[in-house]
């Protein structure tokens, strides 16, 4: 086996392990307030020692960011697929797909809150974030336009995006409700919002 191949293999393994950490973290973050997740917990969930986490991520914040970015990419891909699927993606369907995704990826959602509200994004992180968010917005805007909405479609896009995020913040963990109830309620709310945003007439 050539050195090149060996090296490539190593890179692959490393990538795989990094992904392992990433998904374990995502799962863990989804289960509870992600800010209360500790390095030790993550390590335990991955099945490694705490020190190992630091071989793959410079800091816990770094890992937070990656979880967030991974979610944003997921979302973008999901929307891409939806749009290519059949003859386009109706506004209502988009709303439901988006909220369904947030339901199953609470960590993405929580991260968004965290970084948006905490305002702690470093300049470098902001630089990484911006193109990702822009692409997400572009995707949503395309759907808005396909729905025949006119006027300042960018602003409408922002409004729609915000509104759907709000569904989550308001009901994602409503005390005393089961996850399934929450899912049903948020999807229904997404539908209502989608309905209002759809071109009247």
């Amino acid at each position: 086996m050539s050195a090149l191949t060996l090296h490539a293999l190593r890179e692959k393994e490393r990538e795989a392990r990094r992904d392992l950490i990433l998904s374990a973290a995502r799962k863990l973050f989804a289960e509870k307030d992600f800010r209360s997740v500790t390095v030790r917990e993550i390590a335990k969930a991955v099945g490694v020692s705490p020190g190992t986490i630091y071989r793959y991520y410079e800091s816990l914040d770094d890992l937070f960011l990656d979880v967030f970015f991974a979610g944003a990419l997921d979302m973008t891909e999901l929307l891409d697929k939806e749009r290519k699927n059949g003859e386009g993606c109706s506004l209502k369907r988009f709303c439901q797909v988006y909220v369904a995704y947030l339901n199953e990826n609470m960590s993405f959602y929580q991260m968004m809150s965290h970084f948006m509200l905490g305002g702690r994004l470093s300049p470098e992180a902001t630089e990484r974030l911006n193109p990702i968010m822009r692409e997400l917005m572009d995707n949503i805007e395309a759907i808005v336009e396909e729905a025949g909405l006119e006027g300042d479609t960018r602003m409408i896009t922002h409004a729609l995006f915000s509104a759907l995020n709000g569904v989550m913040i308001s009901y994602a963990r409503y005390p005393g409700r089961s996850l399934e109830e929450i899912r049903r309620h948020t999807l229904r709310l997404a539908g209502v919002i989608g309905g209002f945003f759809e071109k009247p007439g």
Copy 2:
């Protein structure tokens, strides 16, 4: 002076001091990410010692809750006033009033995120929260009905409430924007959302 009166006086004083702590905390929480506010900071802001805080609140979480509840009450009162003011409150105006309030009471907003997302509300806290939220919802629903919207107005109320909260989560601290820019942007988004929710035709 009778014992009763003395006792009442004491209760009053106690209430007054509790309020003092509450408002100092609200101010402090509004200034930065409330999760990073420490007991010592609050105590200093109030002008008492850390130990004193604990004579009025069982724990920091307890104080958090009270700040949150106070915000919800404020909001309800504000909407009450708006509705009684003139001949009613249009949907668009409500949206803007609500978002303007959130802009100036970030702590209320952050608390909402915190408790909703953290899912840490104790059963007792939930019991205290529910009537307050119900009243807030009742108020919004009244506005929705006054606006002539029909169908499941409760569901529409929830959708609207959610959507407006979302405006905040999405843009409240957008990196690189000034508070004034954010205020303008979120108010505009509130207007867009209000516009979509207003009865078509």
Copy 3:
């Protein structure tokens, strides 16, 4: 008791406790390589919890610095006393007093090495250090002048100061020697150096 007095009392107590930590640390630092002393050890030596250390010192480095400064002040006072004592302080006697002091205050000596060699003094610390060192040098220079030495007395002062420090670095912990043997040896070396520096003829 007036509030003023109470406050003063508190200050005094605080100062006393700070001193307690300081001396415990000095003792501990003297016993072994001070860089290997941990906060927990210091806390244990003082008889408090680790957290308490941080009520009196911002960081471990802060405590390091204070130990160092305390040593430098001690030294200065000691030399002052020596000079006023009798009709002045001979060069040889100064050398022995200085080295004797270092023998009994290894932490001062180790700190000096640490900060000099590590080059990690922050600008603020340097600012605090400079006047203290200058006063120490002034004192030594006065002794040098009283001894009748001529020429660039400041340079001679530096040379003498350096040479005596060197006695310590070279023999302070010579492996296999008892503290008493080391004391004798270093004092003798100090005498030899003092002899060479004394005005010939």
Copy 4:
């Protein structure tokens, strides 16, 4: 090829690799406070993996020691050369050669401080150290004697050695001075000390 030769070859290779590590470490240690150099850094500088270091050195302390010993040997050779050079080495010249060496081999100097002050030399290490130091002292003593100094020349040797070491500890990293300034200052101090030690009259 005989087994013996093969074995010898292997030994040679091993020795060569050990030297490689040693010089890489020396270079690295010279660049900054040697206590902050990590095994990984050394491994990277040598171009091997961290694990490999441990095939040649039992522990990091072991490597530290070797660096120190190598420095002491260097020094001895340097003085040997100086003495054979021309008609002998004056005391002043020796002082300057020695301090110049320390300036360019800060790691040697730092190691000396470390082991002397830390007092961590194991009995075995001490056994290795003693003959090396003795040879160094013999060399210096020879110079002292050549300079015509009389009396307890061994003690004078120690005093001189100490004094010169002290020049370094006191000024090696004086905050705010460039390496060149430090070099000049320490050389000048070495000259002053050498002057005082030179036979009067």
